[in-house]
């Protein structure tokens, strides 16, 4: 078919449009209506166009271009292939919903001018898009840095609050530590040719040890961006500090650029995947998943809970990457295809699920002014739209059929079932244990989400001021509907999604994925063991039973319903404080997994006039890794500071000694 335009040009056009919209925000920076009614919806339309173009282009052949931007000898190379297209579709789809939501969300009092927010937001989107289509290390790093800086400014929107400033600093610090890792990885991969285009890296021949070094550096660098334990410490600080749409964008889309980067490095730029790389990724992935979910269960701030949940989900994605690497390294391509599709599907799902949840918390924050779970409750009566749409996200992320979270979990568990056929015997033992950990994390995710939804939206309001909460506006509802609808669509139509993702598998693993659909509605991976999943049929049967049950009961018995007081067990004065608190809901996890937490307890004594009980749950990794590192850095800096004596005589002496040494070397 003759195309009159290239898909790559269309994607580039969307990115340029985003940049233009961002700059347009500076025309009238103080006007909320301009940003909210015109610019953000335009950005959303661009996002939808990007999704459409990306989906249409997944099966199309690779396109390349060279942009005249950049240094004279180092222009930007860009390329669109199937892997980029999938992640571009993710970027466009998730950002469209978030942009529509932001159109209604950003009001005065966010700490920055609306026009400035518009600029930072759209530059962030454009930078992420450029990361996904960059074809040389220079363009990639420039886009990566822009992405980090734009998101830093977005995170520190309310920069007058000291906590938010320090959260932003920590975020920037770890982002740059990761960027160093990525840069070094590119440096290793150019293999002596000193050409930093990805094509040069693809054709370079590097020894297996150097390839392993490049992979480890890439895992470090991209893991820092994705929030892999132990480089995760910035996530629970930065996501709550940022405004909710920004948190959604960071959690939903930015973390996936790290996944894209690792996939690009492992399968495209490096040749000869070694199977033990997969074990490394698997170990870190499973560790992050478990660590993230148990910490999420004990949080008392709704956005920190979601941030830790993001760490868990990215852990599961990295587990999938690890599994793919193990299978590919052992030349089991069909199974690697299964694992890769599970990974990509989970990344796609998480973008939409987590965005719904973060945007829901944004609406709650605007309506109530509260982030603390101990001051929320009963919002289902005041905010029905937000509640029911957030429920879709909650059920999806808990991995319940027939929504999308279950499909990716199903595919991943099917991939794990094959782990027993790997040639290495001890890997045979370890991988099914990995499956057990994944199952445990999924069950714990259900626990966390019941806590999240139940404490915020259900029950009785824990504060009197919650009676004044108002539901979300029109734009916010449309944004939430778009994202929740995507969750439902990804859940009920897995065959079509897998069909699209098959092109990526073809490109990266050089194996045809085969026909995964039976009659177009039953998902049956040909590599899997006689297993199939048909969510539409399952959903239809359940709905049929529910409807028949409701109608049957109504017809045969038809009794009425009336209201009365709740069961109080004879205790007359029940109030909202007697409900379970967020701390209470996390208590079983704290009790069972105590070694992982560092807890400070403040216990009341019998002599206190106002007895207070407080428990603060902290991250042990701070004390084990970061505090000693920080002490070493500070010690080294103070030692080096001794060089700065502050006397001119000493500095002249330094210059003289340097001159003498250099003369001695040259002569």
């Amino acid at each position: 078919m003759e195309v009159s335009f290239s898909y790559l040009d269309a994607c580039l056009g969307v990115l340029v449009a985003w940049g233009a919209i961002g700059v347009a925000g500076l025309i009238r920076p103080r006007s909320v209506e301009f940003a909210g009614r015109t610019l953000f919806p335009l950005g959303a339309v661009c996002g939808v166009m990007l999704t459409v173009v990306a989906i249409a282009s997944i099966a199309a052949p690779t396109e390349r271009a060279v942009l005249p931007v950049g240094l004279p000898d180092l222009p930007f190379h860009i390329r669109r292939d199937a892997l980029s297209a999938v992640f571009l579709a993710l970027l466009g789809g998730a950002s469209a919903g978030i942009s529509v939501f932001s159109a209604g969300y950003f009001r005065k009092g966010e700490g920055a001018l609306p026009g400035l927010l518009c600029l930072e937001y759209h530059v962030f989107l454009a930078a992420m898009g450029l990361v996904l289509i960059a074809d040389d290390a220079y363009a990639f790093m420039v886009a990566w840095e822009t992405m980090a800086l734009a998101s830093y400014f977005l995170v520190t929107t309310q920069h007058r609050i000291a906590e938010i400033r320090s959260a932003g600093f920590l975020y920037l610090l770890i982002a740059h530590v990761g960027a160093i890792g990525i840069l070094l990885s590119f440096g290793v991969m150019q293999g002596g040719s000193w050409q930093f285009t990805f094509d040069a890296m693809r054709s370079a021949h590097i020894a297996p040890e150097w390839a392993s070094a490049a992979f480890c550096l890439a895992l470090f660098g991209f893991g820092a961006k994705a929030g892999l334990v132990p480089l995760h410490v910035w996530l629970p600080e930065a996501h709550p500090a940022a405004p909710s749409p920004v948190s959604a964008l960071m959690s939903g889309v930015m973390l996936k650029t790290a996944v894209y980067g690792l996939l690009r490095v492992s399968f495209d730029l490096l040749h000869g995947v070694q199977w033990w790389w997969g074990l490394l990724a698997l170990a870190f992935g499973l560790g992050s998943a478990f660590y993230g979910v148990i910490f999420a269960a004990v949080q008392t701030d709704m956005k920190r809970l979601l941030a830790w949940s993001s760490i868990e989900n990215l852990g599961i994605v990295f587990t999938g990457i690890g599994l793919t690497l193990v299978f590919q390294g052992c030349d089991m391509s069909a199974l690697a295809a299964l694992a890769l599709i599970a990974t990509l599907y989970h990344a796609l799902n998480h973008a939409f699920m987590k965005s719904v949840l973060f945007l829901g918390t944004g609406s709650v924050l605007h309506a109530t002014g509260q982030r603390n779970l101990g001051r929320l409750g009963g919002l289902i009566h005041r905010m029905p739209w937000v509640t029911w749409l957030t429920l879709v996200g909650v059920l999806a992320i808990a991995g319940l059929p027939p929504l999308n979270g279950f499909v990716s979990e199903w595919l991943l568990l099917q991939a794990f079932l094959f782990a027993g056929e790997v040639p290495q015997a001890f890997v045979n033992m370890l991988l099914p244990v990995g499956a057990a950990v994944v199952a445990l994390c999924t069950a714990l995710a259900g626990y966390v989400m019941v806590k999240f939804f139940g404490v915020i939206f259900l029950g009785q309001p824990r504060e009197a001021s919650l009676a004044g909460a108002h539901d979300a506006g029109v734009m916010e509802r449309i944004g939430l509907l778009w994202l929740a609808g995507a969750c439902i669509a990804l859940g009920l139509l897995p065959v079509q999604v897998v069909h699209l993702l098959g092109s990526v598998v073809q490109e990266l693993l050089h194996v045809g994925p085969g026909d995964w659909g039976v009659d177009g509605w039953l998902l049956a991976p040909p590599a899997a063991r006689h297993a199939s999943y048909g969510p539409l049929a399952l959903f239809a049967v359940t709905v049929a039973v529910v409807v028949l049950g409701a109608v049957g009961v109504r017809v045969w018995f038809g009794r009425r319903a009336r209201r009365g007081p709740a069961w109080d067990c004879g205790f007359v004065r029940l109030d909202s404080r007697m409900q379970d608190t967020a701390e209470g809901f996390g208590q079983p996890i704290r009790h069972m997994f105590e070694p992982f937490f560092s807890m400070q307890r403040e216990l009341p004594t019998p002599f206190d006039a106002l007895p207070r009980y407080r428990v603060t749950v902290g991250d042990r990794i701070w004390g084990l890794v970061y505090a000693p590192l920080g002490a070493v850095v500070r010690g080294t800096a103070e030692f080096a500071a001794r060089l700065q004596q502050g006397r001119i005589a000493t500095y002249l002496l330094y210059s003289f000694v340097t001159l003498v040494v250099l003369l001695a070397l040259v002569l």
């Binding site: 568990l413 079932l417 019941v450 297993a531 709905v543 039973v545 018995f557 319903a561 209201r563 709740a566």
Partner: protein, 316 residues
């Protein structure tokens, strides 16, 4: 989609719906006999359901639409689960749409809806029950998944009817891994269905309740649906156990209608023995402190993982 398959499917759903309360009644009978009491008749749960359906519903003032919808959702997922478990026959057309992992997912959906509805009214008992139910669930669900994994690895499929068929056709050999997972499965069954030693189904002390605490606010037809769903859950778990560990007698497709007709009395016999066994276990055990329930379930989880490792080491 042969007529036999459609008949098998509908028969299984009908059998589950009709027989589940009777199974519960039988377990109560056996318990009463063992405890030297006189039990109500085996049909008592049916009388209870009929009574409840005929009563008005009283909703708490704070109850929302989620609370009113939850009993139907729970009932629907339990019936969907019953539709894919091969209790009488293995020719189930719906099992292609949902395999063992989806079955665990359906049970998890029911658990989440029950917990959310319990948190909806906003009293101390409901939220306490929800927290405890999720605590039991987050360890029981992976244990059940591991048990199904072992069976799936032995039979090279995750579809429950095919697992049952595969285990039937093998020689009557003892699989060590299945022995481990049988113990784990029994522990999970006790925990998930609110049986002693994890939870006392006959208690009326709210602070000792796990499952019952979530039902405190329901009345009328909602309570009837929830109780029926609970009976269905026990029936489903028993049938999963039969399919994995005692699959002989299930009507395979090769057997035709005759095998299907034979399967019904065989299922009744299996349920009678299982119900008596359950009553014996409940009578001989004491209820655990709630803080000890995670240890109980962790044992189940570890036994299931052990079964998996035994399978990988021994190949059987």
């Amino acid at each position: 989609m042969t007529p036999l398959r459609i008949v098998t499917q509908l028969l299984e759903i009908a059998a589950a719906l009709i027989a589940a309360p009777a199974f519960l009644g039988w377990v109560n009978q056996c318990r009463a006999w063992l405890q030297n009491r006189r039990a109500p008749s085996v049909l008592q749960p049916y009388y209870g359901l009929r009574k409840l359906f005929g009563k008005d519903v009283i909703l708490a003032e704070n109850a929302s639409a989620l609370f009113r919808f939850a009993p139907y959702a729970v009932f629907g997922t339990m019936v969907a689960a019953a539709a894919i478990i091969p209790s009488m026959g293995t020719g189930l057309p719906l099992s292609t749409a949902a395999d063992a992992i989806a079955l665990v997912g359906l049970l998890a959906t029911a658990r989440v809806f029950v917990s959310l509805a319990a948190m909806d009214v906003g009293t101390a008992f409901g939220t306490l029950g929800a927290r405890r139910e999720m605590m039991v669930g987050f360890l029981a669900e992976p244990a059940l998944l591991m048990v199904l994994f072992v069976a799936a690895m032995i039979s090279h499929t995750t579809s429950l009817p095919l697992i049952a068929e595969g285990l039937t056709t093998r020689a009557l050999a003892l699989y060590p891994s299945l022995a481990f997972t049988a113990v784990a499965f029994t522990l999970v069954l006790l925990a998930e269905n609110a049986r002693i030693p994890v939870d006392n189904p006959a208690t009326h002390l709210e602070l000792t309740m796990i499952h019952e605490a979530m039902l405190l606010e329901y009345s009328g037809r909602h309570l009837a649906m929830m109780e029926w769903a609970a009976a269905l859950k026990l029936f489903n778990y028993a049938c999963i156990g039969f399919a994995l560990f005692i699959p002989w007698g299930t009507g395979t497709e090769a057997g035709g209608p005759a095998a299907l007709m034979l399967a019904a009395p065989l299922l009744a016999l299996k349920l009678a023995v299982a119900g008596a066994g359950l009553a014996v276990v409940e009578t001989l055990s004491a209820k655990l402190r709630v803080f000890r329930a995670p240890e109980f379930l962790a044992t189940a989880f570890l036994l299931a993982v052990l079964g998996l490792l035994v399978y990988l080491l021994l190949g059987a």
